[in-house]
């Protein structure tokens, strides 16, 4: 199982997020990536948290920041890739994999097929921010800025088109050892296709390994408690 790091990118700077609402600055992307590279984490997931509509100039800034970083660890990127036009901006981006949320929730086959042809299916990760309320699973619809019921139809579409699926526990994000594994009961996807983030700690990593998940991305304690993280990895 891979153990990596999950960071948010907002206008060229990295942040750690708490419970899908609060952010804590971590520094420039270049510095953050250079530290994580030094720790030799298994992978780094960079997400642009777009709530509502995206700003093209901010997207351009963020892509510029990724292009100018020289990271020798596996990188994946997502956030704001909602159309064929936005896909064009990704040329020369030094990432191996791309994360999509909206494209999967809207079952945007035009975009997904274009990515398959251009980057290969191994590059496609479905990123699913979820919350569990009274046993019902909801996904975050970022353009609408609210949570909606995660239907079996969407899950089936994800199953057919994504190489791996990143489940984000939005309620426990940033909180140590709190990822809610009950979420996985509500998602009919093979465990060996699942990556998790949101409240990942040492206990979660051990349990995820037992379950046979493919990756855990540590969202909290990135950089501001470096030694703690180093031990964990």
């Amino acid at each position: 199982m891979r153990v990596g790091a999950s960071i948010l990118l907002i206008n060229g700077y990295c942040y750690q997020s708490y419970s899908w609402s609060y952010t804590r600055p971590l520094g420039s992307l270049k510095k953050v990536l250079s530290f994580l590279d030094k720790y030799e984490v298994d992978e780094i997931c960079i997400t642009r948290p777009i709530k509502g509509s995206d700003n093209p100039s901010v997207l351009a800034n963020d892509l510029r920041a990724i292009r100018s970083s020289s990271c020798s660890s596996p990188l994946s990127f997502g956030g704001g890739i909602r159309s064929l036009a936005s896909l064009k901006n990704l040329q020369q981006l030094p990432v191996e994999r791309l994360h999509f949320s909206n494209a999967f929730f809207n079952m945007n086959s035009r975009l997904i097929n274009k990515v398959k042809n251009q980057y290969g299916k191994q590059a496609i990760v479905a990123s699913v921010p979820v919350k569990l309320v009274n046993g019902q699973l909801f996904f975050y619809d970022s353009p609408a800025k609210n949570f909606k019921i995660l239907s079996n139809k969407i899950i089936s579409y994800i199953k057919d088109n994504a190489d791996e699926v990143l489940i984000i526990d939005t309620q426990n994000e940033g909180i140590n050892n709190s990822f809610n594994f009950d979420i996985l009961d509500g998602i009919d996807l093979p465990l060996n296709k699942l990556m998790i983030t949101g409240g990942i700690g040492q206990k979660q990593i051990s349990f995820a390994k037992e379950l046979g998940l493919i990756s855990c991305l540590i969202d909290n304690r990135i950089l501001h408690r470096e030694n703690f993280m180093k031990r964990e990895l």
Binding site: R97, Y119, G120, A123
Partner: protein, 206 residues
């Protein structure tokens, strides 16, 4: 000089960054006329259909053949490796350049579960192996006799290990992690994304 074939795919930039960090001279090139003597790296992230279309546009196949026959080294990485084989199962089957031999083919790695091989796996390479394969590094800066560490893979299709000199993928012995034939080398993993060990590998083979 190291020539990095730049067809607009992401990992040409990653390879350039890595070469920068270990101090090798390189140039990103997009036309055969720009080729310098030394080494040509063919990176590749994506699907073979789009990649082969880009290669055909500028008749790269002929130029690569001539380049290798003039004593220069050619290294294909990941999809660049697949492009050097004779045929790929990807994109409903596709003829490729065939420089690693007519029997060397690319097939899907996990047909049953349709999953990619994404992650880290152990890798070992020795000078003895390179000598056996008659691979002469152009720069030859590394004085190490062997290297052992872990490398990063991200692929759904893999090259079937053949009569050529090859190192298999750990726990997927049917597939080649690194293969050599004459002046052609194919690498399935991403040395440019395999951190410090990846840099050592590049120094070892360049």
């Amino acid at each position: 000089m190291i020539n990095i074939l730049d067809l607009g795919y992401g990992n040409s930039a990653s390879i350039a960054n890595t070469l920068d960090s270990i101090g090798y001279p390189y140039e990103l090139i997009s036309k055969p006329a720009q080729l310098h003597k030394g080494v040509l790296i063919i990176p590749g992230v994506g699907s073979i259909l789009a990649f082969n279309q880009e290669l055909s546009k500028k008749n790269w196949s002929k130029s690569i053949k001539q380049y290798a026959h003039s004593g220069n080294n050619v290294i294909g990485i990941c999809l660049g490796f697949h492009a050097l084989t004779a045929h790929s199962e990807e994109s409903n089957g596709m003829k490729c350049m065939g420089f690693l031999g007519s029997s060397v083919k690319t097939i899907i790695v996990d047909k049953e579960n349709k999953r990619s091989n994404t992650g880290w796996a152990p890798f070992f390479i020795s000078k003895q192996f390179l000598e056996k394969a008659k691979w002469n590094p152009y720069f030859g800066r590394s004085r190490k006799q062997s290297l052992q560490g872990r490398v990063f893979y991200n692929h759904r299709y893999g090259v079937i290990a053949s009569e050529n000199t090859f190192i298999p993928i750990s726990e997927r012995e049917k597939y080649a992690s690194l293969m050599i034939k004459g002046n052609f080398m194919g690498i399935q993993f991403h040395p440019e994304k395999s951190q410090e060990f990846g840099r050592s590998i590049l120094e070892f083979i360049l």
